[in-house]
Amino acid sequence: MKVEVAGIGCIRAGERWDKSARDLFKEASAKAFEDSGLKSVDLLIASNMALPQYTDQNNVGSYLSDDSFPAFRVESACSSGGAALHAAWLAIKSGEYDSVMVAGVEKMTDRTTQMNTHILAGASDFEKEAFYGASFVSLNALIARRYMHEYKAKEEDLLLFSVNSHKNALNVPHAFFQKQVSLEDCLKSPYVSSPLRLLDCSPVCDGSAAIILTKEGLVKKEEKITLEASAIGQDTIELARRPDPLTITAGARSFKKASAKSGVTVRDIDVFEVHDAFSIMAALDLESIGVAEKGKGYKLAQEGQIALDADFPVSTSGGLKARGHPVGATGVYQAYDAVLQLRGQAVHQVPDAEVALCHNIGGSGSMVAANIFRRVR
């Protein structure tokens, strides 16, 4: 039995100081309901990383749903969205639920940069990494420096992923940044954790995105879009304990499983919503999927292979870097962007997009959720 996409909705990620997380969810979910034609769902699975720290709010499922429908939160740091999609897929595949809303929300901008640094370090191993002074960015910086050393990549090569993301976000109504950046702009931005610069890193922002998944045939849609396969791959939480810190093994595992379940190979994929939280992650994510050989991911941007009209379109609405990265909501934004492409409704449309991969990395690579969407003719 297939799992179908009935509706999608999201708000533009940004600094929404006038709105609570609940308000943001209401906006996004209202759009998803309208898009689906449904008035309610059997279950709400909320994805959120840190509302308790950002706004002192636990019990997130109930906070969002109130008495509308059964609800609970799924959390796996930056891959909370992808994990929530996985949970919804399981709920429907099991036959227990006919319709499930997956809604991501994150409210980051009411806290200072310093507080955000502390909260985001929670995605790493706090006892072994943050305790000794490693901020989350710095873990990615350690990976980036070694990667550049081993594979002769330069800062410019990685920054081209950011340039690509910003280009794809231009005129996209729900993108946080709608401004192109040049490589020169990127190289002039200050180091956050050497060798990663400000423009290597996705922004802190508020956001909410929602998608309604249903059992096959529940809602009649013009375009039938399925969540074809969903899988989780795992690795150590601590970067130092990975056999190879330069491989996102969790990503290789998640994609391999999703690929086996769906029969979809790299060549079949038209849209790659990868986890470009940091430029280095985009390159490594693409390597883990098999788009590039190990150590060659950085060449993809340089060689123009990730452009919208190339073989491997990446971050088609701007990705995490430009569309925004409200952490716990990101996986759902990836799904939103994927479905837009498959419907032919994207601002920068990949011609005849039929299969989209959403790859959502948690922590520095501790867990990856792979969700493959397909348009069925």
């Binding site: 310093q114 370090a121 002074g133 490693a134 350690l142 956050v192 954790s193 050497s194 130092a240 810190p245």
Partner: protein, 96 residues
């Protein structure tokens, strides 16, 4: 001066090579006063990899592959009247 050599010499868990490093400009809580500071990944002689702050050096003096040795240092303080937490850091290995 504290004689740290007895902890380092002959101990494969206290020596290694530098796998990677970075200067942190946006510090973690309770380490603001030390910012910016350097952290690194050190591949120990024993085979394990450890993440730790790098001390007694500037970023310019570091290079991937250089010999490092473990030292005991203060990691953080729990406020002006709280516990002082010590742990390991690494510094460029000293020529003897």
């Amino acid at each position: 001066m504290l004689n740290e050599r007895y902890m380092i010499d002959g101990n494969p868990e206290a020596k290694g090579t530098l796998y990677s490093y970075t200067t942190v400009f946006s510090p973690i809580h309770e380490l603001e006063e030390f910012s910016p500071y350097i952290i690194g990944l050190v591949k120990l002689e024993s085979g394990k990899m450890l993440l730790a702050q790098l001390t007694d050096c500037t970023e310019e003096e570091l290079s991937i592959g250089m010999e490092m040795e473990m030292v005991v240092r203060k990691i953080r303080e729990k406020g002006p009247r709280g516990l002082i937490l010590y742990g390991y850091k690494f510094r460029p290995a000293k020529e003897l």
